[in-house]
Subunit: 353 residues, 2 copies
């Protein structure tokens, strides 16, 4: 194994000293980049792009060619697992992800089985191998998955939802059924992430995009408990190197102490949480990742620099901070504004280390 | 002045002893009630219903005829103020409120003026007077308005938004312009709520539906600061009776200590916050209103009773709790499920008082 040229990101996740605060962006390979849109056009559509390891490798590397980012993230979708379960993932213009066969009957739920990553999700594993090769140890590669509850939202609702009426009705009416789905999902996510780690992912992140829609008690029982099980089941070392785990519940700021207690190395924060207060609340338990409002990137380089500086100052001295947006970068972001943020993080963070 | 027959709601807001926990539901006069849909049909559309004091009175009283609720709330819309400013409020099928003339140019913003409640919002004031008469002092009447920031979201975006790109771009790029809108809005909300109080509203509530979309610092500067100004400018007594003020920022659970410090009598909570923890965090500063997930009402009376019991138990002994949903009741709620919640609150809360 060759050594990583830049392991700042991994060291920050493990709260080891670094020279500056590392930075990457959620959805950094995305529609705000003209070169991404060209590759996507060649692929035909988003899902074909995800399922083609050559093209997935190409777009994964595109943001790194533009910006001195400290990590690459596998280009894929959070819903690959239910797609591999046979629910038929597709994307309809302007409406986000949908499933052809959402879970509507008890027998469909009882019939769910855990997809084998080496067959049904082979395209993801192949992409991980190819991306690692193409990265040539410049920066680490992050693998990822959706959380069991977030997957269940889409599997039950059949798509995005503003109120999650169907999945919440199941939660309150038939908690046994939802627990069954979540149990299968947690096992599936565990083997899937372990396969990504085996194939070369050097850190993994679990995206709990919709856990924040739950009531306080329901979040702990139906989302966090399953995140905890996954974290406990992950391979945390590969070839003598630690493989850090990041968990991110969007809208989970109120539950930070609980989220920081499930055994992950780092916790992602959206922009509603003050990162300095978050640090005081979690103490030495975890590193923190975040948390600039992606809307700041609509403004101008001067404002971007000022808002970036505020977050760095709020986190304060020492390691344990990975700079990121609080959510995926918007397709309407001018790429030079993303560049301004990355530059500001690298320059302005040095005095804190 | 005749005395109120049931002032439990007002006493709870003022943290005075009560015999049980009072309850009402946000959007209690709404589409889940067949009788509401009939009246709305007669009115033609939602906005005509709001603007007709006879029909607004009729629908305000409908939920009280069905359920032993402890308060009535004026039937109106949160966006009456910008409509009265001339922005042209309309409702498009399935897309929520929209404005014909959203604020897009600096001169439009500089031209904004504070609507006179007695002329441009006369229909609201008339409705308050008529509803008070029709209520005949059975229960108190709540007046309300949208918050300055929430109004600004719609005024700038022109409608609902998933990312608030336009208003947030203004916030970061031209904070002076947004502050100007918010200043006008805060003055407008203050005179509007005072006119409602003058006309007979016995408590008022400010709905900050979108403050929770802001970053930590931005929330305090662009939403909470203006809520504080309004609260300071409200008439807090009418005919020798106190007029309590409730502020509610959906998604504001992380900022509860700040929200509880702006001088209101009560703070609304959405369902993501544990109400017992909230009570410990705010201490004796304010009463709390909330916070059942409206999705619980999709389940069945037994589950509704159990989830209601959990919230009552979490709040614990003593006054200062007004039971409510954590957000407006869904149009898909069976009315008998709302009845089950109201009954459960009244029965199960007695041991805590």
């Amino acid at each position: 194994m060759k050594k990583l040229k830049n392991d700042t990101f991994l060291r920050a996740l493990l709260r080891q000293p670094t020279e500056y605060t590392p930075v990457w962006m959620m959805r950094q390979a995305g529609r705000y980049l003209p070169e991404y849109n060209l590759t996507r056009q060649r692929a035909g559509d988003f899902l074909s792009l995800c399922k083609n390891p050559d093209l997935a490798t190409e777009v994964t590397l595109q943001p790194l060619a533009r910006f001195p980012l400290d990590a690459a993230i596998l280009f894929s979708d959070i819903l690959t697992i239910p797609d591999a379960m046979g629910l038929g993932l597709y994307f309809s213009q302007g409406e986000g992800p949908k499933f052809e066969r959402p879970l509507r009957d008890e027998w469909e739920i009882r019939d769910l089985s855990i997809p084998d990553p080496d067959t049904h999700l082979r395209y993801v594993i192949d992409a991980v191998v190819q991306i690692r090769k193409a990265l040539d140890n410049q920066v680490p590669l992050i693998g990822f998955s959706g959380s069991p509850f977030t997957l269940a939202c889409y599997m039950v609702e059949g798509g995005s939802s503003s109120d999650f009426a169907l999945v919440k009705t199941m939660l309150y009416q038939r908690p046994d059924l939802l627990h069954h789905i979540l149990d299968i999902n947690a096992q599936a996510v565990t083997v899937y992430l372990n396969a990504q780690i085996e194939a070369g992912a050097q850190a993994v992140m679990i995206f709990d995009s919709w856990g924040g829609a739950l009531a306080h008690g329901a979040y702990h029982e139906f989302s966090l408990a399953y995140l905890e099980r996954i974290v406990a089941g992950l391979k945390r070392e590969k070839d003598g190197e630690q493989v850090p785990v990041i968990v991110f519940t969007k809208g989970g700021g109120q539950w930070l102490e609980s989220i920081a207690s499930i055994g992950s190395d780092a916790v992602g924060l959206d922009w509603t949480t003050d990162i300095g207060e978050a640090r005081r609340r979690v103490g030495d338990k975890v590193a923190l990742q975040g948390n600039l409002d992606p809307a700041v990137l609509f403004s101008n380089p001067e404002v971007i620099r000022r808002e970036t500086a505020k977050i760095l100052a709020s986190y304060g001295q020492g390691s344990g901070h990975v700079f990121n947006l609080g959510h995926g970068i918007s397709q309407f972001t001018p790429p030079e504004h993303a560049a301004a943020m990355v530059e500001a993080v690298h320059q302005l963070s040095r005095p804190y280390h």
